[in-house]
Every structure is written in structure tokens, then in C-alpha cells.
């Protein structure tokens, strides 16, 4: 940089002619352009040359150019950082150094200098990214199989907004601090907050770029995002110009910067944990098998008041297969939430579960299928007896269905009241229809088994437990062709045709009442329809939301709770058959990560528990127009094991049963002793 030296005894003679404004600007812009050459070269190399070379190679090899190639990943991943560094460097390369005094000694105002820097820096960023984008769009236009869609346009807008805001912020902070590191870090932190804050609040969700891209079907959906970036741009530019004339500078040392970064990180983290955390208090836990053993085939937990009973299978460690058996464990949840009065007994008459590695000569084993109270309050355990088929102990054939009724007085031994067996017709191969007691409050009268295999000539055998010992099947119902599957669950019998492993895809189902098998005899009742959750409650048709999936409903009179991936909604029946949404607790983008197959369960008028594959969420619905999330508990996804967590409630506590673990939790909204 050239400098003019003057002798101290000779005053500087002011120019006879005032410098024209346009030449002042031209000189300043020329100076800034010259000093920005390195940044421009680096930017063009990173954002245009490298992607261009790769794009041309791709074009030569594949013959076409993708709509979202590597260039865009680079712009999205590093464009904001480039804009921030250019913004900070444009100011700090001379502002705050000795050159600043030289510049201010020239016949230009500081405001003019800063404005020239701002315009030149913005033009540099826009130019570099503009060339990169224009090149890519040109290639896309010529070679891509699909043209730019609304999603790509939204992405270009969002990237441009982020870069413009990042540049302006870094520039403004650089003018205020004259420090490269400080301006880079502060601008990065602001962008970080801008990126993360919409994740943490459903109200700010519209400012989150991925939501913008996923849900944006219109250009107008980008309006809030663009408005915020324009606001940041305007505020930053105004602050830059205002602070350019001020002598006072905010100096930020390494210590202050580190504290700012740390505290911003902690604040964001704290808000995030408040959004998805708030775990329910764990009062007590019980692991079911004895020490050294393992539990499997846990059938059911049943409840009467604050007393609980769990039926499960257990097998011992390898040298001790004799420890295996079927057991019932009883316990009580005390007023302080602790598990007390723990008792355990083997199930009378049940053969132990098979141990595949065992060398014992046993060829028969029992499999528990149900556990419930009957109308007299007696425990009823049911199961099937299987016989080993072939050399492999893995395969079994159902021989008998059995049901045992027993009582277990406090402090006494269990006493068998009755034991009934249903021998299956010989020569038939039977497959099961699922655990037919699950989630039942009362004992079902009928058992269902499918005879035959291969999807042809299959028949549904219906056994009636009220027929007395060793009865034959009450009904034998031919099943339709096409590999049908039969599931009995929670009092419903569902016959499914189609690929059952893929939900909502080409699956047809017919539903029946499991307590009235005679309805299956009438072919007019066999109406197959698509498998969709809304079919369970037809009025929810029309309440589906984009990205939310089918809502699952828990109906209580005139009030219903609808859960989907986007949150919980409260609906009220305004008049018969007409429901309207009266309140909603919308999930933030972050909390959506912890929602999978949510199912609402209203415990009373003020508390709804949403149980899903990734945890349970508690809502306070005492004000239906404003349901609030008040608790959460992380639970592992058991769906891939074909298992499900069961939730029970006592006066003050929730009892959660997951595989071999019982957990007592505080019930939200109740006062604890």
C-alpha cells in the first residue's frame, strides 16, 4: 500500500478541488476488490471449480447431471462459513490495525469506508456463489432428467438467506469489535441459535430449513424464513454503519469468547432437554427372574387395585436347566411407590419351557398364552402343550390347550380350583393366532387355532371353554384363499390377506368380535377393507395431517384424543357424528425424533399418557383447549421383538411393564408422600 510522507514542519495542504463522491467510491471499491482477490479465488476454487470438474466428470461418465449434486452439498455445508469469514475478513484486514488510521486520514468518512466494504464483500459472496449456482443450474437445465422443482428453489432461497445473514452478522460484529476471531465466533453462534431454536419449539418450526423443504409445497412457505434473514440483514447493516463512526470498540478476549460459546451451548442444550426430557421420577423397579436366570415369554401382567401379578417363563444358566419353569410373581405398590410383599410361585401343573441346548429327554413342553382374572376374581392361566417334532428341538406341534383356575391367598400357597384340557384333533397341524388374553379385563370364552398350512384349504378351529373337558371344536370355519393370517387381540379377531409385514401396503383385513365366532359363519360379514388406522374410528377421516400419519384415537364420550407424529390433539363432539379439534400440543421437530407409533390413553379427565415405541409422554389435558406436555420416559423400542410395554395406573403411580422389568413411576400431577 502506498503512503504519502509529509514533513512535520510543513502543514498538509488541502486539495484545491474537492474529491468527487463517485471517484471516492470508485477508489474505495477498487481498493476493496484488490484486497479481496484471495478470498474470491479461494471461493471460486471451492464452490465453482471443484464441483464443476466433478460435475463434468460425472457428465462424461454418466451422461447426465443430478439436480442436487456435490456442489450443493458444499454450498450448504460450507457456504455459511465462507460468508462469515468473508464478512469478518473484509473489515478486519485493515479495520482495527494501523491501516485504519491511514484510511481515516483520507478525505473519506468512516461511514463511506464501511459502506464500501459492505457492498464489496456482499458482491464478492454473491458473485462467487452466484457463479457456482448459475453453472450448476445451467448444467441441470441442459442435462438433468428433471428440472428444478419447488423444493430446489426453496433450498436455493434458504441457503442464500443463511449466507446473507451470516455475512451481515460477521461484518457487523467485526465493525464493533475489530477482531477476526470474535466476529467469526459470534456470527457462528447466532447462526447456530437460528438453526437450533426452531428445532426446540413447535412455534418456531416454520423457520427450520428441513421442515421448509419437507413440508414446503408453496413458495410462500419460505416467507417467514426470508423475513427473518432480511431483518437480520437490515439490523446488521444499520449497526455496522452506526458503529463505524464510534471510537469505542467492544474488545472480546479468548476468555470471554470461550465463556460466551460455552454458555450459549449450555442454554441451547438445557432448552432442548426441557423440550424432550422431563423424565418421570422412577420410584422403584423389579427385575423378574432370579439372579443368574433369564426371563422370556412374559405373558401378562394383571392388576387388581395396587396388587399386581405377572406370569412369565424362566430358564436357568446352562449348567442348571432344572431351574427352568413357569412362575407367577405377585407384588404390591405401596403408598410410597415401592414394590412390596413380593411373592413367587411356580404355576401348578405347567411343564417347563423347552431348553434348546438341554440334553434332557423331555419331548413335551408348555407355552403360556394367557393370564387373567375371571368374573369371580380367580386367576386363570392358559397355555398350550407342544410336542417336539423331528430332531430339532426348535419345532413343536400343538397337542393340547389347557386352562387352570387358581387362587393364591395372602401368606398361603396357590390352590388349583380347576384344570381343563382341550385335546386337538390328531393328524392336523395347527398354528396359533396370537396371545388372545392380552389387554383383556375379562376372560375370553373362545380359543382360535388355524389348521392346515400353505395358504390353501386352511380352516379356523374355534374351541369353546364352556363346553366342558375334552370337547371338540365348536366351529370349523374355512378361511379364504390367499395366505390369510388370523390375529386375535384385545377381543378382536382380524383376518388379514396380503403381505402382513408391510403396513398400509396392499393389506386387506376383515374384523370380527372374538367373543362371537358365529358371525364368521355368515359370509356376508366377510367384508375386507384396507388396513388403515382410520378404519378403526371412521370419523377421523379428514383429520390426517401431512407428515403425521394416521391418527390413533382414544375416545371418551364426547372427548377424543388423537395422536400422530406431529403431536396430540383433543377433539370434542360438537353434535352427533361431527367432531372438531379444540386443542393441540404440537411436537417440536426435536421431540418428533422421540415419537414413534404414539397411542393415547386417557387415564382420567386431566391426564393422557401417550405410549409409543420410543417412550411414553404424559399430557395435562385439564384444559382441553391447551394440552401440555408434562412428562416423559425413555423406553426402548420393543416392537422389533414383537413385544410391547404395558402401562397400569394406581392412585398415585404408573406401573410400567417392559420385558423382564417392572418400573413404578410418579403419576404426573399428583402429590407424593
Amino acid at each position: 500500500m502506498n503512503t504519502i510522507s509529509t514533513s512535520p514542519d510543513r502543514p498538509v495542504v488541502p486539495s484545491a478541488q474537492p474529491i468527487r463522491c463517485s471517484s471516492k467510491w470508485a477508489n474505495l471499491v477498487r481498493k476493496e476488490c484488490l484486497e479481496s482477490r484471495e478470498a474470491a479465488i479461494a471461493g471460486l476454487a471451492i464452490f465453482w471449480l471443484v464441483p464443476a470438474v466433478l460435475g463434468l466428470i460425472e457428465l462424461a461418465l454418466v451422461g447426465r447431471h443430478d439436480v442436487l449434486p456435490f456442489a450443493w452439498l458444499l454450498v450448504i455445508g460450507a457456504g455459511w462459513l465462507y460468508a462469515v469469514i468473508v464478512g469478518a475478513h473484509t473489515v478486519c484486514r485493515d479495520w482495527g490495525k494501523a491501516e485504519e488510521h491511514f484510511l481515516l486520514a483520507q478525505p473519506v468518512s468512516p461511514r463511506t469506508v464501511v459502506c464500501a466494504k459492505l457492498i464489496t464483500g456482499a458482491a464478492l459472496v454473491a458473485g462467487v456463489l452466484g457463479i457456482a449456482v448459475a453453472w450448476d443450474m445451467m448444467l441441470v437445465q441442459w442435462t438433468a432428467s428433471s428440472a428444478l422443482g419447488i423444493r430446489e428453489v426453496l433450498m436455493i432461497i434458504s441457503v442464500a438467506c443463511v449466507m446473507a445473514a451470516g455475512f451481515a452478522l460477521a461484518f457487523a460484529v467485526a465493525v464493533m469489535t475489530r477482531q477476526m476471531l470474535a466476529s467469526t465466533i459470534v456470527a457462528t453462534l447466532v447462526l447456530l441459535v437460528w438453526a437450533i431454536a426452531p428445532l426446540l419449539s413447535s412455534h418456531l418450526g416454520r423457520f427450520w430449513v428441513p421442515v421448509l423443504l419437507l413440508g414446503g409445497q408453496r413458495l410462500s412457505s419460505a416467507a417467514p424464513f426470508v423475513l427473518v434473514s432480511f431483518a437480520m440483514l437490515a439490523v446488521s447493516a444499520a449497526a455496522s454503519i452506526y458503529y463505524s463512526t464510534r471510537k469505542r470498540v467492544f474488545r472480546l478476549g479468548n476468555k470471554q469468547l470461550a465463556w460466551i460459546a460455552g454458555l450459549v451451548m449450555l442454554t441451547l442444550f438445557g432448552v432442548a432437554m426441557g423440550e424432550v426430557g422431563n423424565s418421570l421420577h422412577v420410584r422403584d423397579q423389579l427385575m423378574l427372574p432370579k439372579s443368574g436366570s433369564s426371563a422370556f415369554g412374559i405373558v401378562q401382567t394383571i392388576q387388581r387395585g395396587d396388587h399386581f401379578l405377572v406370569a412369565y417363563g424362566e430358564y436357568g444358566p446352562q449348567p442348571h436347566p432344572e431351574m427352568s419353569g413357569w412362575f407367577i410373581e405377585a407384588f404390591r405398590v405401596s403408598g410410597s411407590g415401592h414394590i412390596q410383599d413380593l411373592r413367587r410361585t411356580p404355576i401348578p401343573g405347567a411343564l417347563p419351557p423347552i431348553i434348546f441346548y438341554s440334553q434332557t429327554p423331555e419331548r413335551r413342553w408348555d407355552l403360556l398364552t394367557g393370564f387373567a382374572f375371571d368374573k369371580d376374581g380367580h386367576m386363570v392361566v392358559s397355555g398350550r402343550r407342544l410336542r417336539v417334532v423331528g430332531a430339532l428341538r426348535l419345532n413343536g406341534e400343538v397337542e393340547t390347550l389347557w386352562r387352570t383356575t387358581l387362587v393364591w391367598p395372602d401368606g398361603g400357597e396357590p390352590e388349583v380350583l380347576s384344570h381343563t384340557e382341550l385335546a386337538l384333533p390328531p393328524g392336523q397341524s395347527f398354528t396359533t393366532t396370537g396371545p388372545w388374553y392380552r389387554d383383556r379385563d375379562h376372560l375370553p370364552r373362545f380359543s382360535y387355532l388355524v389348521a392346515g398350512a400353505g395358504g390353501t384349504n386352511e380352516e379356523l378351529y374355534v374351541f369353546d371353554w364352556s363346553d366342558g373337558p375334552n370337547p371338540g371344536p365348536r366351529y370349523i370355519i374355512p378361511l379364504p384363499q390367499g395366505s390369510p393370517s388370523v390375529f386375535v387381540h384385545n377381543g378382536d379377531l382380524r383376518v388379514t390377506i396380503g403381505p402382513v409385514h408391510f403396513r398400509d401396503q396392499d393389506v386387506l383385513v376383515a374384523d370380527f368380535d372374538a367373543d362371537h365366532p358365529e358371525t364368521l359363519l355368515d359370509k356376508q360379514n366377510w367384508s375386507f377393507h384396507e388396513l388403515r388406522e382410520v378404519n378403526q374410528t371412521p370419523w377421523t377421516e379428514g383429520f390426517e395431517r401431512f407428515g403425521g400419519g394416521d391418527p390413533v384415537v382414544d375416545e371418551h364420550g364426547d372427548v377424543a384424543y388423537l395422536s400422530d407424529l406431529l403431536g396430540l390433539r383433543v377433539a370434542r363432539q360438537a353434535r352427533p357424528g361431527r367432531w372438531e379439534i379444540v386443542g393441540e400440543s404440537r411436537a417440536s421437530p426435536l421431540s418428533m425424533l422421540f415419537r414413534l407409533y404414539p397411542r393415547p390413553l386417557a387415564l382420567d379427565d386431566s391426564l393422557v399418557i401417550e405410549q409409543g415405541a420410543r417412550g411414553i409422554i404424559a399430557y395435562d389435558v385439564s384444559d382441553p383447549s391447551n394440552p401440555k406436555r408434562i412428562g416423559f420416559l425413555n423406553t426402548p423400542d420393543l416392537s422389533w421383538l414383537g413385544l410391547d410395554a404395558s402401562l397400569f395406573t394406581t392412585g398415585q403411580y404408573l406401573v410400567l411393564h417392559e420385558t423382564d422389568l417392572i418400573t413404578v413411576l410418579d403419576r404426573p400431577g399428583t402429590r407424593k408422600p
Binding site: G270, N278, P317, L641, L661
Partner: protein
């Protein structure tokens, strides 16, 4: 002359005390900041219980712990050089090895203090929501296998937090020592931080290779023949399988020793509980004792040359 000996001892002790006090005064803000951030993150994640406790420990003690190491290693010497106080320090009547050792000792103390306080905060946070055992859903018979730390941690979350924190402290100290010594070359803290980031990334990449290797060892143990077929040795008898298993195990031992962060992985691997204590000891010797011994021995020449360059 006992009097002279006593004076020498007293003088040396007072020099060390003075050096440590000076380091504490200069570095304490780092300690407070690191403790606030690490304890806040760990306690927040454990209290929220959005992920199982072991995952929370790995997430916080792993990446955030490494940032903490860079933060503690980058400052001591580079800061002195940037502020032009290094020259003043080395003309004092102390050796360079004393200065280097005092700065290292304060770094390790700060690291240990941060980890201890954070772990205590984590325990309090865990306790405040009720310490929760997680249901085990992977293998039916693995719940009680003592060698599987991940399994064990589901039943003993508080103990596993303490154990993981202790191992993490050792692993981080193993990386802090060489990183601190290498970063004495940096002229300022910015350069030191950048160097620390690049070196840590390199170590992590090497650790990734180590994970792949460990997966292969598991594969050999589980189904040696398949592994052999896969690696191209088609016909090998049982003795051959054993030889290959021994060779791979030897490679594993060497790889373990050559990576300062390997304890982080070894504690999570179910098969290597038996020699874990020995591995920790060897790691400490290789990555802490040897570099410090070498530094003290050569501090007059090599370190001095680095720092004065």
C-alpha cells in the same frame, strides 16, 4: 551436609508450589468453564433420560471430553508464547522440564477435577429422577454375563457412570499428555487449538480403524472358519484357526497400545474384560510416563528448540 540437602529440598518444593500456583491462577478460568459445561451437559442429559445412561456417558465423555483435552492442552505454553512471557519464565531459576512438568501436572489435575465434579453432578442428576434400570432387549441370556459392560450398566447405572468416568479420565489423560507436548510448538493459542483439532481427528480416525479390527477379532472368535474363508485362506485346520486368532489378537494388543483413546472402546467391548486393567496400565506407561520421561530428558534441547523456534 544435611542442612544444604534440606534447603535444596525446600527450595525445590517451593519452586514447584510457586509454579503450580502460577498455573492455577492462569488456568483456573478454563477449569471453571470446562466444569460448568461438562457437568451441565452430563447432568442435563442424565436427568432428562432421553437416552440410556451409558449412551449419555459415551456422548458426553467422548466428544466433549476430547474438546476439553484440546482446550486444556492448547493454552499453557502457547499462551505464554503469545503473551511473550515464556522468555521471562525460562530465565527464572527453574529448569524447562520443571516448567513443562508443572504445566502438564496442572492440566491433568484440572482434567481430573473436571471429570470428578461432572461425574458427581451426573450422579446427583441421576438420583434426582430415580436411578433407572433399563430393560434388556438384545439377548435373553446376556443380562447377567459379567464381562459385558454395556449389559452390566443397564442394571447398575450409577456404578457404570463412575467406572466409565474413571476409564474416560485415564484415556483422556493419555491423550492430553502427548497433545500438550506436541502443542508446545504452537506460537499462539489459535494455532495450538487448530493443531489440537487436527491431531485429535487423526487419532479418532485411527481409532475407527481399531473398531474395524476389533469387529474382525470378534468374528474370528465367533466363527473362525468363515473369517478364514473370507480372507482367502481356504483350507486351514483347527490349528491354523488358532494361529490366525493368536496373530489377530497380537495385532489387537499392539493396536490397543498404539492408540491413547483405546480404553474408551475396550470398556464397551464385551470380550476383553480380563486384560482390561493391564491394558490401562500399559496405556498409562506408553502415553503418559514415557513421553514425560522423554520430555524431561530432552527438554533442554528438543523442547527448548521447539519453543524457542
Amino acid at each position: 551436609m544435611p542442612d544444604v540437602v534440606d534447603r535444596t529440598v525446600v527450595r525445590r518444593r517451593s519452586v514447584w508450589t510457586a509454579l503450580l500456583r502460577k498455573e492455577w491462577c492462569e488456568q483456573r478460568w478454563r477449569f471453571f468453564l470446562a466444569t460448568v459445561v461438562l457437568a451441565g451437559l452430563l447432568a442435563g442429559l442424565l436427568r432428562a433420560q432421553v437416552v440410556p445412561s451409558l449412551e449419555a456417558e459415551v456422548l458426553i465423555y467422548g466428544p466433549v471430553g476430547l474438546i476439553l483435552v484440546i482446550f486444556l492442552a492448547a493454552g499453557p505454553v502457547a499462551g505464554e508464547r503469545a503473551d511473550r512471557t515464556w522468555e521471562f519464565l525460562v530465565v527464572q531459576p527453574v529448569t524447562r522440564s520443571d516448567v513443562i512438568l508443572a504445566k502438564w501436572a496442572m492440566g491433568v489435575l484440572l482434567l481430573t477435577g473436571t471429570m470428578v465434579i461432572s461425574t458427581m453432578a451426573g450422579l446427583v442428576a441421576m438420583w434426582s429422577r430415580g436411578i433407572r434400570i433399563m430393560p434388556f432387549v438384545h439377548e435373553f441370556d446376556a443380562r447377567h454375563s459379567p464381562e459385558a459392560f454395556a449389559t452390566w450398566s443397564t442394571i447398575h447405572p450409577a456404578l457404570s457412570l463412575c467406572a466409565f468416568a474413571a476409564v474416560g479420565t485415564i484415556a483422556l489423560a493419555c491423550w492430553l499428555t502427548p497433545l500438550y507436548l506436541l502443542l508446545t510448538r504452537a506460537r499462539n493459542e489459535f494455532a495450538a487449538a487448530l493443531g489440537g483439532i487436527f491431531l485429535t481427528i487423526a487419532v479418532l480416525l485411527w481409532l475407527t480403524q481399531f473398531i474395524v479390527l476389533m469387529a474382525r477379532i470378534n468374528y474370528v472368535d465367533a466363527a473362525g472358519a468363515n473369517m478364514i474363508v473370507k480372507t482367502g485362506i481356504a483350507f486351514v485346520d483347527d490349528a491354523g484357526v488358532n494361529v490366525i486368532a493368536w496373530v489377530v489378537t497380537a495385532i489387537w494388543v499392539v493396536a490397543t497400545i498404539l492408540n491413547p483413546l483405546s480404553p474408551f472402546l475396550l470398556i464397551l467391548a464385551p470380550r476383553y474384560a480380563t486384560g482390561f486393567g493391564l491394558v490401562l496400565l500399559v496405556d498409562l506407561v506408553v502415553w503418559v510416563v514415557l513421553p514425560l520421561w522423554w520430555t524431561c530428558r530432552n527438554s533442554g534441547r528438543l523442547i527448548g528448540k521447539w519453543v524457542d523456534a
